[in-house]
């Protein structure tokens, strides 16, 4: 059974970069390099493995400013067939309810083009907002089941998907009706590293940029106006980690340097 899979990818500020504030207290994203959310790459890997097993097509879907297209190229190089980038100034300031609404409209648009979408997959959360809301909320807007913390997709057949999902203290095996949204918790799907050939091939793949009017969303339900939540303020956490990282080819010197530093900082390594 060939599968049509939509994978949701969020372009995020490179997690390795230092977060900068504007004078008004909002985060300055303009200077920062955007990359694909690392947790979404596990979902991309899961989608690609499902395509290899069952056949079908994997379409990426993102909502971001147009300059985010570069961040999507690395995911196309991994093997995603094409991308739809939802980009419109009216989407700025969307919280998770508004974002999930817009993304669900994006899924419906892809469906009109591709035929029935069987699975929507995404990472468990984003590395910048860390909410994990998008999977369940997209599921709700589409009126289909969703499963968060999916460890492995075990089987797809006869209109159902069987997944192993993590719970406190173990796991659950669930049989879920298709179409469904799966939030992939990572670790089981190590993202593949594209080869140079993959990178070159990805340049020919298409990124279709669409706006609010193209996908038929109600403009009053997106952007700041469509977002119930407001960020009042943001501040840097005061308990900064010391980040004293030691390297040395000589292990004796390495461990000695580390213990010396602990002594200097007055830290006792025992109860």
């Amino acid at each position: 059974m060939p599968l049509n899979i939509v994978v949701l990818v969020k372009p995020v500020v490179d997690p390795k970069a230092v977060v900068r504030f504007r004078p008004d207290g909002t985060i300055d994203r303009s200077a920062a390099k955007l990359v694909a959310n690392p947790y979404d790459k596990y979902a991309v890997e899961a989608a690609l493995q499902l395509r290899e097993r069952y056949g079908g097509r994997v379409v990426g879907l993102s909502m971001a400013p147009p300059q985010a297209a570069d961040a999507l190229r690395e995911v196309l190089a991994m093997g995603v067939d094409e991308f739809v980038l939802l980009s419109d100034p009216r989407l700025a300031g969307s919280d998770t309810l508004a974002t999930s609404y817009a993304l669900s409209a994006g899924v419906r648009m892809i469906e009109r083009k591709l035929g029935k979408v069987d699975l929507v997959v995404c990472g468990i959360e984003s590395s910048d907002s860390n909410t994990g809301h998008i999977g369940p909320e997209v599921g709700e807007w589409l009126g289909i089941p969703s499963v968060s913390y999916v460890d492995t997709v075990l089987d797809v057949s006869e209109g159902y998907v069987v997944v192993k999902r993590l719970i406190e203290g173990g796991y659950m095996k669930l049989r879920v009706r298709l179409p469904a949204v799966l939030s992939i918790a990572g670790t089981s799907y190590q993202p593949r590293i594209p080869t140079l050939r993959d990178v070159l091939a990805s340049r020919r793949k298409q990124i279709t940029v669409v706006g609010v009017d193209d996908i038929g969303v109600d403009p009053s339900l997106v952007g700041l106006a469509g977002s119930p939540t407001r960020v009042v303020r943001m501040w840097r956490i005061e308990i900064k980690r010391k980040s004293k990282i030691f390297t040395d080819t000589d292990v004796d010197a390495l461990v000695e340097k580390f213990l010396e530093e602990l002594r200097k900082d007055g830290i006792t390594l025992s109860r």
Partner: protein, 342 residues
């Protein structure tokens, strides 16, 4: 009808989860500040008799949805039950624990009710807020405080106009309220119409769950091993923990691999810990692990990959092969060269 702070209560093996009791205590605090009542909502099968206990712990009213078809947690029927009671009682605030269930169920309910939700709060408070655009003042609304950008930044978030104001709150941060048998409250039983469509959407084929015996929450020192440790590495992790008088922790990967039991797991699907010293050995630092240990006072990471995300949350990092570093560290500590000692 009184304005209410409603807590969604999780039940496991017929017992109210500790994190749900913590939330009842927190809700009591919010309710007192904002002139509200505390409500509790419990969904499941055979959960009726838990209502009294929730009142003893601080609830003024307990809403019960008790149905044999709700014996095992399944997202869509549970969404239906929660959204039904919330829709009918119109609470001001609804709080969920930021657990695997809470972080899936709460956003689903929020989207159904078309309201806002904030994830994984480390604190919630009641206060007033002036909208800088309209100048309108909102009194007694919920401040939702949470880390963002991987924990580097804190954000305060409000939901000024939509109701209920919803949040998931991280477990293990607030005290469990004292039991007071003199308290009284109201119990409301609901029967929710569950359609076949949502009941059929998810079938639970198998549940594997280990019970927890080791309590890492009160440990002062934890030495944790991860995927990089392997069974041999765990021998070293145990030896170091013993030497330091600490407990042994582990990442999910190590537990799944069978090198150590689930009791020792730190992270989202394990325990949330905040020891004085946390030593992560061969743990790369997946977000699911980091949420469970990032409130530790001092974090020490030992990993051969200098790019491992664990180093970003570490005070001290040793880049090196744990199979070489740990024996050397143990040897030096045994020589009585404990730092801080004479």
């Amino acid at each position: 009808m009184a304005r209410t702070v409603l807590v969604y209560v999780e039940v496991s093996d017929g017992k109210i989860e500790d994190h749900s009791l913590e939330l009842i205590g927190k809700a009591r605090e919010l309710a007192t500040k904002g002139g509200m009542d505390v409500g509790a909502l419990v969904v499941g099968h055979g959960v009726r008799e838990l209502a009294r206990e929730l009142i003893y712990r601080g609830a003024d009213e307990v809403h019960v949805v008790d149905d044999p078809r709700l014996g095992t947690y399944r997202l869509l029927p549970y969404t239906k039950a929660v959204a039904h009671v919330v829709g009918a009682t119109s609470p001001e605030v609804v709080l969920f624990s930021a657990t695997v269930v809470g972080r899936e169920l709460a956003p689903r309910v929020a989207a159904r009710l078309r309201t806002g939700i904030t994830a994984d709060c480390t604190d919630v408070d009641i206060g007033s807020w002036t909208d800088p655009l309209s100048g309108r003042v909102y009194e007694n609304i919920l401040y939702q405080i949470r880390p963002t950008f991987g924990g580097e930044i804190m954000a305060a978030i409000v939901t000024p106009q939509h109701r209920p104001q919803m949040a998931t709150v991280r477990p293990g941060l607030f005290p469990i309220p004292q039991r007071d048998e003199t308290r009284s409250g109201r119990v409301v039983e609901w029967s929710v119409e569950l359609d076949e469509d949502s009941l059929d959407s998810i079938e639970v084929l198998e549940v594997r769950r280990e019970m927890r015996k080791v309590d890492l929450k009160s440990a002062k020192i934890i030495v944790s091993g991860g995927r990089g440790a392997g069974p041999k590495g765990f021998e070293l992790v145990r030896e170091l923990a013993k030497l330091l008088g600490g407990e042994v922790g582990a990442s999910r990967a190590a537990v799944d691999a069978g090198w150590i039991s689930y009791d020792h797991q730190v992270g989202l699907t394990g325990q949330t810990v905040k020891p004085d010293i946390y030593i992560a050995v061969g743990i790369s630092g997946a977000v699911q692990h980091i949420v469970g240990m990032k409130d530790s006072k001092i974090v020490i990471a030992i990993n051969k990959d200098p790019e491992a995300p664990i180093f970003r949350v570490a005070d001290y990092g040793i880049v090196g092969d744990l199979f070489v570093v740990l024996p050397k560290l143990i040897e030096k500590l045994k020589q009585g060269r404990l730092p801080g000692g004479s």
